[in-house]
Amino acid sequence: MRIDKPLLQVKNLKKYFQTPGGMLHAVDDVSFDLLPGSTLGVVGESGCGKSTMGRAILRLQEPTSGTVLFDGTDVTACSKRELKALREQMQIIFQDPFASIDPRMTVSQTIMEPLIIQHKMDRRDKKGLERKALEIMELVGLAPRLVNSYPHELDGGRRQRIGIGRALVLRPRFIVCDEPVSALDVSIQAQILNLMQDVQKQMGLTYLFITHDLSVVKHFSDEILVMYLGQMVEKCESKRLFAQPMHPYTQALLSAIPVPDPRVRMQKIPLKGELSSPIEPPVGCRFAKRCPYATSACTQKAVLPREIEPGHFVACVRAGEL
């Protein structure tokens, strides 16, 4: 492991939503560090707060409490102006390339927009802007002839390339990738993932890669953070997580990855019941209700992540013994 200073430090990040039934704990007390140039995969089932966390880090949704330090600057305490300046360095790639691109703007307009907003280039410098757009289009693998196309003329893969281009044009250092491939065909997924890996190398990007697809995250991430109902249940190096998952939830999750070989019998760990409600959750381990190893100690007090071995955090009372 490198000993660089972390680019992103998230401390006790919380995002609660007011609902008629009480407070919805979408993200509850998540902390982690992210080193420059690395990729942190965030996995968990739908509704566990992965996307909300990504948006709260970028302050697209105001966090309820906690701090987010980006290169030493506290994002959560920024003024409007400081935040705008920070946006240049932190970007986001969205899940749905059909919803995340303005249908009234051409490819080049979409890619140039961040430059105009951030006053990187003069809006009247049409030639320069277009040159820049073509440069980025080449980087993300879009043919120059598409420069004046509208998004409805393009397929999902090409649209997602626009989304990536838009995120890259400001040369950010950190990008939140919110399930960037889950809306795409499997064949195109690989292309987009390769593209993202290439630009990461070229530009030294740091990724927060949100997904529910474990096979994607396995090859893509240096570290993996597993979330369950808004909480971090396990975090460690990618290889180690797949070889030696320690939290019962992670174990169940990994056992569900299909093996592409009909002769191999999968040892699935079936989980009983459903995701419990994130509205006013009870104290203790939120997974306890579905956990095959649950004891009375699990529901007595809050279970915080412990460092079981260097760099391996597990939020389970019985982590060592299982």
């Binding site: 948006r55 970028l58 697209l60 935040l83 705008k84 300046a85 946006r87 240049e88 970007q91 986001i92 969205f94 899940q95 749905d96 919803a99 995340s100 691109i101 303005d102 249908p103 009234r104 051409t106 927009e113 961040p114 907003i117 951030q118 277009e130 073509l134 120059p144 002839r145 598409l146 420069v147 004046n148 196309s149 509208y150 409805h152 003329e153 989304g163 838009r166 400001l170």
Partner: protein, 295 residues
């Protein structure tokens, strides 16, 4: 950059026009309406060039000896109850219906669009503005317009103001609804992630994307504004005699409907054709602008 490498761009507007063109009835209506607008506009030019002498001599001046003369080669639409040429009166009357209707709708679009955009975008303003609009909507359009004209006095400007106010809530509702949908789109969040200001988001992303229902509403509203002008003139609160407004002509003619059909049917038909054309165009536009119906 090399010209040949650039693909042909077709904006959504061009796309909509392409689809609109396929609707023959709508294109026909558009042509008829444009012809009517042209004719109505030409009356201003004629008045200006002849110092209103044609207007004075043929449209206003009465010739009681020839009153209620039926259509003939000399006067294709016949003569009215004061012996004035119906064709010229209908042509001169088009300006009131068309241009005043358009002016009222234009004003209502700006005012209602602005109020709707604000209440769609800012939650706090929403309740206040929308409840005000609800109050206006609770009163029937024609009654509201009647009340406003009665309060302000009868003049062309007051008539436009009355119709403008009574149309505003519809526009506010339409714009608010589309702003609410557009606001939740991910590309708005994407713009925010780039650091775009509220103003930029409204002007560059929300307004262009909520325009199509507004355009359709405009066409439809011109039709109902024309009807309101005619109705108000019919009951004597709109355009005053001897100005040849279609509704007023209809109102004056109804006494003679048993003996001389032409003086009621002709202004009535003029109103009907205009409104029909506008509604067909509106329907055509809605189909052309709605991407869900796109094939």
């Amino acid at each position: 950059m090399n010209e040949t490498t650039v693909g042909k761009a077709r904006s959504l507007g061009a796309d909509a026009w392409y689809r609109f063109k396929k609707n023959r009835l709508a294109v026909l209506s558009l042509i008829v309406l444009l012809a009517m607008v042209l004719v109505a506009f030409s009356t201003f030019v004629i008045d200006w060039a002849t110092d209103s002498s044609i207007y004075e001599a043929k449209v206003i001046t009465q010739d009681l000896r020839r009153r209620l003369e039926p259509p003939s080669w000399e006067h294709p639409f016949g003569l009215d109850e004061f012996g004035r040429d119906m064709l010229l009166r209908v042509i001169w009357g088009a300006r009131y219906s068309l241009f005043m209707g358009m002016a009222a709708v234009f004003g209502a679009t700006l005012l209602g669009g602005f109020l709707g955009a604000i209440s769609g975008f800012y939650k706090t303003a929403d309740n206040i503005i929308m409840r005000l609009m609800d109050i206006l909507l609770a009163v029937p359009t024609i009654l509201l317009a009647t009340a406003i004209v009665a309060a302000l006095g009868t003049s062309k400007i007051n008539l436009i103001i009355a119709i403008l106010i009574s149309q505003t809530p519809t526009f506010a509702r339409v714009v608010r609804a589309s702003v609410l949908t557009v606001k939740e789109q991910e590309y708005i969040e994407a713009a925010r992630a780039m650091g775009a200001s509220d103003m930029r988001i409204i002007l560059r992303h929300i307004i262009p994307n909520s325009l199509s229902p507004l355009i359709v509403q405009c066409t439809m509203s011109v039709a109902s504004a024309i009807l309101s002008i005619a109705s108000l003139s019919f009951i004597g609160l709109g355009i005053q005699a001897p100005m040849p407004e279609w509704g007023a002509m209809l109102s004056n003619a109804r006494t003679y409907i048993r003996d001389s059909w032409h003086i009621t049917v002709i202004p009535g038909a003029a109103i009907m054709v205009t409104i029909l054309m506008l509604n067909i165009i509106g329907d055509g536009l809605r189909d052309a602008l709605d991407p869900r119906l796109k094939n």
